[in-house]
Structure formats: C-alpha cells, structure tokens
C-alpha cells in the first residue's frame, strides 16, 4: 500500500519526464502514454483512498519527506486523478506538440498529488512550487506567440510571490519549536512565531487560489490551451490553495485573527470576482472569474471551520468547472472563438455538448439538487454559525454566482447566426467536436449533477460529523434565491429555447456590467501589480545596474587610477627629484674628489707644510675646547 502511495506521485512525474526527455519523437505515443499514466494514477488513488497508507523517509536534518492519505487527502487524490484523466482524454483530441504538453501535464498532476498527500511543509512546498513552474510552461504552450509566455510568467511570478509565505512559514515553524514541520503539529508552535507562520501560509494559499488581491493571474492563465485551463481551474492549482487552508484549518482556528481574515477575503472574492465574471464577454474569462468566486466559498469555509463543507464545495466545483472549461475549449476549437456573441447557438449546434454545458452551468448557478448547491449550502451553514454578516455576504455571493452562470447559459442558447462572420477570430475553427473530446464530458456532467449526494461520505471521511449542517430554511432560502436569479436571467431568453427568436448578442445583465470598466478589467488588479510592483522593481534594477557600473565599479577603477596617478607622480616628480639629488651628490663627490687630489702633489715639502698646518689646527682646536 505504501508502494501505491509512492507510485501515485511518481508514476505521473516519471511518465511526464520521460516524454519531455524523449522529445519530438514521442509525439505519436504521448497521448496514449498520458492516458495510461492518468488511468493508473486514478486506480492507485482508489487504492490509497481505501488503504490510507503513510510513508516517510529522512530528507533534511530533523525534517522528513512524508506522504500520507487521510480522509481529506483521499477525497483530494480521487478528485485530482479523476479530473486529470478526463482532461487528458479530452486533450488527446485537441492539442499539438504533444510530447511537451502531455509531459508537462503529467508532471503538473504529479506535483498536485504530492501537494495533497504531503504531511509536512517541506514536502508540500516541493509539490506546490513544481506545480507553479509547470503551470508557467503549460500556459506558455503556444510559445511562438508573444503573449502566452508573458502570461505564464505573470501567473508563475504572482503565485511565487505568494509562495514566499510558505518559505517563511517553514522557518517560523522551526523557530516556533515544530522541528519536523509536520502540518498536524503546526498549531502547537509558540505563539509569536505561530502568527508569522499563519500569515505565511494564508498568503501562499490566497495567491495560489487566486483570491483577492492575487486574482489577476488567473485571467492571464486563460492564454493557455483549454485543457490546461480546465485542469488549472478545477482540481489543481487554485484548488491547492483551498486545500491548504482546509488542511490547516486548526492553525487558522488557533489564532485570533486568521480565521476572520480568511473568511472575509474568501467571501469578498466570491462577491467581487462574481461581479467581474458578470462583466466578461469572453466565455473563458467569465469562467475564470467564476473560479475565483467559487473558490472564495472554499476559503470562506476554511475561515469559519467548515472543512467538510469546503471540501464538498471543492469537489463539486472541480468537476463542474473542468466540464465547463472543456466545453468552452471544444467550442473554441470548433468555432474559432470564445467570445459570447460568437457562441450564440453553440449549445443547439451540438446538442449533447450543449446539454452537458447546461448541466454544468446550472450546477455552477447553485440550482438544487445539483452538486455545487450542496457544497455552498454546507459552507453557508458553517458561516451562519460563525457570523450573520458572513452569512449575508455569502448569500450575496450565491446571487452573483447564479447570475453569471445563468448568463453564460443564456449566451449559448438560441439560434446560431446565419453567417460565419463572428467565427475564427482567434484561430481557424474546425466546425466539429471529435468523439474523443466528447467522451469525458458525459461522466463529468453526471458527477457535476449528482456529487451533492457525497455530502455525508465526505463528512464521514473528514471525521467532521459535528460540523453544522444546513437547516431546511437555509437550504430553501438559498435554493430559492438561486433558482429565482437563474430564471430572471434566462426568462428573457426563453423564446430562444424554441430556436427561432433573435436575441441580443449579450445577455442583458452581462451587457450592463460590461460597461463598468473596473469590473471588465478584473478590478484593475493586474495594472496595479504592474504599476506598483513590476515597473518600480525593473526601474530599481536598471538604476542599480547603472549604479553598479558607475559607482561601485567606478570606485574600483578610481582606486586603480589613483594608484596609477600616484605612480606617475612618483615617476615625474619624486623619481626625477631623487634622481637629480643622486646626480648632484655624485657630482659633489666628484668635485670633492678633485679637490682632494689637489694636495697630492708628490712633493715632500708640500706634505710637511700640510702636516704642520694640520698640527697647528689640531693644537688650536684643543686650546679652544679646553
């Protein structure tokens, strides 16, 4: 069973690396290999979900690499592998450069599986960061165009900014006395360090799950291929943020502020990004914003201690959103556009695909008895117990969600346009949806419809039977609100269901919201990040570079130049002077020599005279001295 757990992570990673290393020659076998690996992973996930193994081995001093499957992890590995398999099958019908795409996808899935089975911060961070890097490469899949690599970089750098929180959290855990960094022991850290630890974890989770203020990276992530969006936005990446908060709910609960902050960030994201979704005229952008909004409910759940509700919401959202993104991708490939006006009638053109999209959209709208309704209900019940204000804000989120989901649905029903002028704006459409691409849609749609019934098993798996369950009044209220909003949006389009009415290009609510600039522009967050962080950093970098060349290097050269100048000075002035004085000395010596030669006449009487003079001088000297 331990082997199954290790294989669960390593099979996708190794298969992915093998594809990447094999290169273009593996293009033909990439999809089958990926489908096989994903199927094996699903099988292994079932095994470990039943067997609940745990394994660890020493990695650093006192910090082990640990994997384990408990209730929450069991739910997560099943969700991740199931969605990954569906997306892989769909992608087999879609993408190019397959060795690279499937290679990266498998490593990405393996990293997510590592994240959700990790038992300590080190192991979790490893999976967490690899997932971010793979998301960069996947978003940048179409690397010949300028925008996708840039979008990948925005996504990776934004999430990595938040990830720094985990690095700091690890240090804080160690300093706070949790030497092994075990997730389960983090709440026991000493109080000062625990606050830093909690803050780090919360920032990392909010970044990964694209909550405010980090949401903008998710908009840029849309530049990746649709299967990537389907995976990124459902069971992986954004889900990892939600998972981390659910996993560390005891840590949030142990601090006085974290739960409240997290809950309010979550519910604010649910409402505001829901409004952003309403203002989008591009289906993938609408779905992207809706992801932030729906993940907001998971974050809210973690903040108010509703882990079972949050987990249910995570699972329900994962299947629903992967379904919706895959359908959006299928339409994009077929019609060459994802703009809402161009998608009018797409649901009617391919009825089966239209039907599953409707199922997904209604689930997203929170219409009972589809899955997300139950997820949100459970979250709201926990919120109601924590604070009435949170509950009311959550209800507002329900209203917005119902509105954008219904708007997406309203946009694709009706009669297809008579001409092709709106099509092929983004790529050349194939006008068909291959069977292989349809296969995974049906099980996902079924799951999106019925997973609400998993509420009790999830509670049991998480051992969270004491968590509040929704009361009948709450359920009726929220269900009625959702249905009412959906009807309000869809009724104007009801004639379209018969297929003969001419509808406005955009659902009215979208048309109205799209006029609000900040909503259309994702609250201007990307521009804010660019102006407040990226541009100043680059400017600082350039300034420092100039400083480095002029001042630091300049100082070194100035030092060298000073030495040289000193040398030249020495050469010209000192050296010449010294040399002159030496010469003078020499000349003086010569002169003295000549002088000294003069008495040497060789005549004896001269010498006597000299001796007499010398004696006289000596005598005089003695007289004076005495």
């Amino acid at each position: 069973m331990v082997a199954a757990l290790v294989a669960l992570v390593s099979v996708p990673v190794l298969a992915g690396l093998a594809l990447l290393v094999a290169g273009r020659s593996a293009n033909r076998i990439a999809a089958p290999v990926a489908i096989c690996a994903a199927s094996v992973a699903l099988l292994l996930a079932v095994l470990v979900a039943i067997g609940r193994p745990a394994v660890s081995s020493p990695l650093l001093a006192g910090i082990e690499a640990g994997l384990a499957v408990d209730g929450l992890s069991a739910v997560m590995v099943l969700t991740v592998t199931a969605v990954a398999l569906a997306v892989t099958v769909f992608a087999a019908a879609e993408v190019d450069a397959r060795y690279r795409f499937f290679g990266l996808l498998l490593v990405f899935v393996g990293a997510m599986l590592l994240t959700v089975t990790a038992t300590n911060l080190l192991t979790l961070l490893a999976g967490w960061e690899v997932m971010g890097a793979m998301s960069y490469a996947l978003i940048a899949h179409h690397w010949r165009q300028p925008r996708p690599p840039e979008s990948g970089a925005v996504a990776f750098l934004t999430t990595r900014t938040a990830d720094l929180g985990l690095y700091i959290a690890a240090g804080a855990a160690l300093a706070g006395g949790v030497g092994g960094l075990a997730l389960a022991e983090l709440p026991a850290a000493s109080s000062g360090w625990r606050d830093l630890l909690t803050a780090g974890v919360v920032i990392a989770a909010l970044g990964k799950s694209a909550q405010l203020p980090f949401s903008f990276w998710l908009a840029r992530a849309m530049d990746g291929p649709s299967p990537v969006s389907a995976l990124l936005h459902s069971a992986t990446m954004v889900a990892a943020g939600g998972y981390l908060l659910l996993r560390l709910e005891p840590l949030l609960a142990a601090s006085s502020w974290a739960g409240t902050v997290v809950a309010w960030v979550g519910v604010t994201s649910a409402v505001l990004l829901g409004a952003v979704a309403l203002a989008q005229t591009d289906l993938k952008q609408l779905l992207a914003a809706s992801t932030c909004s729906q993940i907001g409910f998971i974050v809210l759940a973690a903040g108010v201690g509703g882990t079972a509700g949050g987990t249910l919401q995570l699972v329900a959202h994962a299947v629903t959103k992967s379904l919706l993104f895959l359908v959006a991708g299928a339409w994009l490939t077929a019609l060459g556009s994802k703009q809402l006006p161009a998608l009018r009638g797409a649901a009617r053109r391919w009825p089966l695909v239209g039907l599953v999209f409707a199922a997904g959209a209604l689930s997203l709208a929170g219409v009972p008895p589809l899955s997300i309704f139950f997820g949100k209900e459970a979250v709201l019940a926990a919120a109601a117990q924590a604070s009435p204000a949170l509950y009311v804000a959550g209800l507002l989120g329900v209203v917005v969600s119902a509105a954008y989901a219904a708007a997406a649905l309203a946009a694709v029903v009706g009669r297809p346009p008579d001409d092709d002028t709106l099509y092929d704006t983004e790529l050349r459409g194939t006008r068909e949806i291959p069977t292989l691409a349809r296969i995974p849609l049906v099980p996902l749609a079924l799951a999106a419809a019925v997973l609400g019934s998993a509420a009790e098993p999830v509670r049991a798996a998480l051992d969270a039977t004491t968590e509040p369950t929704p009361t009948l009044t709450e359920a009726l209220l929220s269900g009625a609100v959702s249905v009412a909003v959906v009807l309000a949006v869809l009724l104007p389009a009801r004639a379209a269901l018969r297929g003969d009415a001419v509808l406005p290009e955009l659902p009215r609510v979208v048309a109205a919201c799209a006029r609000v600039g900040p909503l259309r522009e994702w609250l201007g967050l990307e521009r804010l990040a660019e102006r407040a962080v990226a541009t100043p950093t680059l400017a600082l970098a350039r300034a420092l570079s100039v400083f480095d060349a002029r001042a630091v290097d300049g100082a070194v050269w100035a030092g060298a130049a000073t030495v040289r100048t000193a040398a030249q000075l020495a050469d010209l002035r000192v050296e010449a002077a010294v040399s002159r004085s030496v010469l003078r000395l020499a000349r003086a010596a010569v002169a003295m020599g000549r002088l000294a030669r003069r008495p040497q006449t060789g005549q004896l009487h001269h010498y006597y005279a000299q001796a007499a003079c010398a004696l006289a001088v000596l005598a005089l000297f003695l007289l004076v001295v005495r």
């Binding site: 650093l60 006192g62 690899v130 690397w143 970089a153 700091i168 240090g171 160690l174 300093a175 070194v556």
Partner: protein
C-alpha cells in the same frame, strides 16, 4: 591517496609538455585524467566515515621554521566540494573536446587549475591554502587573457589585480592568526583547537576584517564583486564554468573552514554584519542581474545573488543567542549544499552560454529569439538549468536554499524575510531570459542557422543538470556527509 588525487592532473599535464603529442590526444588525456580523478573521489566518498571528522589525513613537515606543514585531509565540508570540483572539471574537459586553439597550453592550465582547486579544498594549513589560492588566480588569469574574447586582456588584468589584492589581505589575516597563536602555527586544526583570538577585541576584529575582506573579494560579495561580470563575459565558457563553479567557492569555503572555527568569538560578535552583507548581495545581485541584457553578465550577477545566500547562512549561524541549534545547523548545511549546488548549476549555465556563443557569436539576448524552435534540446537543457538555478524543488538549489532560509529565520528573522525576495527576482530574470532567447519568433544574429546542441555538448552539460536533479530528489547521500561537519562548525562557533 589524497595527494595522488590532487597532483595527478598537474603531473599528467607536465607529461603533455613532451613534444609531438597531437592535440586530440591532449584533449582526451584531460578527459581521462579528470574521469580517473572523479572515480578516485567516488572511492574516497564511499570509504569516508562522516562521523570520523577528518579522513585521509596526511601531515608532513614542510616549512618547519614557521610551523607550516603539508597537512591535507577531507571532512564533510571539503569532500562535497572536492567531488563537485572533479565533476565540473570532467564536464569542462568533455566540453573542451572541440577546442582547437592552442590546445596544449589550454589543457595544461586547466590541469594546473584542477590541482590547485582540489588542493585548496583539502588543505589544512593556512600557508598551503594560500599557495593554492594564489596559483588559482594566476592560472585563471592566463585562461581568460589567452582564450577569452572581447576585452579579454583588460578583464583578465582586473580579475588578477583585484583578487590578488584580496589574497594579500587574506595573507595579512593569516599572519595575524599565526602571531596570535601560542605555540605559533599555521595549522588550521591546531588553530581551531586553540581559538587564539578569543577575548581580544580590537586585534580579533582587525584579523577578522582582513580574513573577511580577503574572502569576500573572492566570493564575491557586494561591494567587492565588480571584477566578476567582466571576467565572466570575456572568459571562455569552460573558464567561466570553473571560475563560477569552483573558484568562487574558495571564498565561501574559507568562511566555514577557517574563519568560523578559528575565530568563533569574533565571528559571533560581527555575525550580524556578515548577515547584512549576505542579504545585500542577495537582493543587489538579483536586481542588477534583472537589468542585464547580456546573458553571460546576467548569469554572472546571479552568482553574486547565490553566494549571498551562502553568506547569509554562515552569518546566521553566528547569531547564537536565542536561536535553536537545529536551525543554525540547517543554515550551515544549507550553505555548504548551496556551494555544491551552485557549482553544478552555474557550471551548466555557463557551458550553455558557451553553446549560445558558438552559435551566434554574441551574448546579447536581444540578438536572439525563439531558439526553442530550431534547437529544442538546447532549450530544454537551458530551461532545466534555469529553473534549477531559480530554486525549483526537485533540483539541488531548492534543498540548499530551503535549508538556508528555514535555518536563518530563527537567528535572523528580518534579514531572512528580505532575502527570500531574492528567489522571486531570480525567477523573474530567468523567465525573462528564457522568453527573450528561446521563445517567440525565431531570430539569430545575421540570420545564422542555429543548430541544436551536439552530442559532445550534451554529454558535458546534461550530467551536471542531472546531478542537480539527483541531489534535489535524493539529497541524503550528500547531507549525510555535510551534516556532521556542519554541526561541528556550529558547535565550534557556539563555544
């Protein structure tokens, strides 16, 4: 045994001086010698017991008048660096198989450099250390000046004078240690046991200053780093790889081998200064690297950033008060791991820039674009090395940096929080470089056709990346060796 390891490359190099050895034979001789050296290191590694402290020790009289001996040996600090050095030299030997220009002198200089690099890491005597330290500068000077490009002579001269000045300052520090010891000795083991300058405020401070400045120039840390970018951008690829991979480590190795064990008291007193120098190097190096348009200069500046983490780690280990020993041990282990990791990864990156230069004749990133199209394997290798360098988990850099951060946060919270930003800036600059050179529309200088990496280039570079991957996933074999030595250093500093 160890002496054979150290002097084998030089002896074989001298044999190559015999006339009439063809160039290809000279190249292959270098490969064979390096491979044999590496095999020897693997043997030493297997036979080394980490718990035993110094292994394979040799101590013979050399200059008895100043109590300086030929004292060599390896422990958990030096063995990983010796192994990394051998690996990197082998990679450079393989990479240089295509060398055509004055081959014999080139190979001879590298073999000399290999001997002095290995010798420096195994030296346990300050004079011996200093000799190897200085000869490495001389050999590298000739490599840059003789086989460089661009403004090679000027860069080489600057490199030589700057680092030579550093070595003289270092020598002053060594003499300070010698004079303060009783009995007077240059032997590192005896000096560490004596800890001669404990309690001598001003003198200790001055000796520490000399040692730290000397080593900081070699490392290099801000503000002593400006010799590095020109030296790198004008050096031949293999020279850059050795310069960044091995020669820079001589500086940081000096901290853990000499300064920390011999001057624990003074190190603790000035540890905060060291930490600050480290953090400034991390952030400053990363930011200046971000602004570069020349790929090789950019990678050179990331070395300043990466060495900054090492300095942060060893500095944090000196902040003993109020921090856990586990944290400080992690920091030192991380610092040593980072030396190994940076050697492998930056070595690979510099060889890869050599590949780029061989294709396009320039390092200017603006001259290239979309190379992933015509050269997919080159792109994959560069991407792997770049992600390894930005500290992606799964590669050795993560293991090193995670330990440094996690271990340093407890002793030095604020500096560490600032330093963590370094990995974000590094991520940005590597993504930017990837984007400029490898992604987008295909472009090359003068419309040249860019060929993919050759088999020789792959067999030189891929093993380095692969080794970084192995250390990143299964680090125990390395950490089992480093940890006891790191713990010993931490205990010595705390005494």
């Amino acid at each position: 045994m160890l002496s054979v390891l150290v002097f084998a490359p030089l002896s074989v190099g001298l044999l190559l001086l015999l006339p009439r050895v063809p160039d290809r034979a000279v190249c292959w001789t270098w490969v064979v010698v390096s491979a044999a050296d590496l095999a020897l290191v693997v043997g030493l590694w297997i036979g080394y017991d980490p718990a035993a402290g110094i292994g394979y020790e040799t101590n013979v009289r050399w200059i008895p008048t100043v109590s300086s001996g030929y004292h060599i040996g390896v422990d958990g600090l030096s063995l990983p660096l010796v192994a990394m050095t051998s690996t990197l030299f082998l990679a450079c030997a393989v990479y240089s198989l295509r060398q055509r220009h004055r081959v014999r002198a080139f190979v001879l200089l590298f073999l000399l450099l290999q001997t002095v690099s290995l010798g420096l890491f195994v030296a346990l005597d300050l004079i011996l250390f200093f000799v190897f330290f200085d000869v490495s500068i001389v050999a590298m000077y000739f490599i840059i000046a003789g086989w460089g490009h661009g403004n090679a002579r000027r860069s080489a001269l600057m490199f030589f004078l700057y680092t030579f000045l550093g070595s003289l300052v270092l020598l002053l520090g060594f003499i300070g240690l010698y004079l303060s010891a009783e009995p007077k000795t240059f032997d590192m083991v005896q000096l560490a046991a004596q800890a001669p300058l404990v309690g001598q405020g001003v003198v200790g401070g001055l000796v520490l200053l000399a040692l730290v400045v000397g080593l900081a120039i070699k490392t290099p840390t801000v503000p002593f780093h400006t010799w590095l970018p020109p030296a790198h951008s004008d050096a031949p690829a293999a020279g850059s790889a050795i310069l960044a991979g091995v020669l820079l480590k001589m500086g940081t190795y000096g901290f853990v081998r000499i300064v920390m064990p011999i001057m624990p008291d003074t190190w603790r007193r000035y540890a905060l200064v060291i930490v600050i120098v480290g953090v400034v190097s991390v952030i400053y190096g990363a930011l200046v690297a971000l602004a570069q348009t020349d790929l090789k200069r950019m990678i050179a500046y990331t070395s300043v950033n990466h060495m900054g983490y090492v300095v942060l780690g060893v500095g944090a280990a000196g902040l003993v008060a109020g921090s856990e020993e586990q944290a400080r041990t992690l920091a030192v282990t991380g610092a040593v791991t980072q030396m190994v990791s940076h050697g492998l990864i930056t070595g690979a990156l510099f060889l890869l820039t050599g590949v780029l230069y061989a294709r396009g004749g320039t390092y200017d990133m603006a001259a290239y674009g979309g190379l992933a199209g015509p050269a997919p394997r080159f792109g994959l290798l560069f991407a792997a090395a770049a992600f390894a360098s930005l500290g992606l988990p799964g590669f050795s850099g993560f293991i090193a940096e995670f330990q440094i951060f996690t271990g340093s946060l407890d002793p030095a919270p604020v500096p560490t929080v600032i330093a963590v930003l370094g990995i974000l800036i590094t991520a940005a600059l590597f993504l930017l470089a990837l984007q400029r050179v490898f992604l987008g529309g295909t472009k090359a200088p003068d419309g040249r056709a860019v060929g993919d990496v050759t088999a020789v280039e792959v067999s030189a570079i891929a093993p380095l990346v692969l080794l970084a991957l192995v250390i990143g996933v299964f680090p125990r074999f390395l950490l089992d060796v480093i940890e006891p030595a790191a713990r010993a250093v931490v205990e010595l500093v705390a005494r």
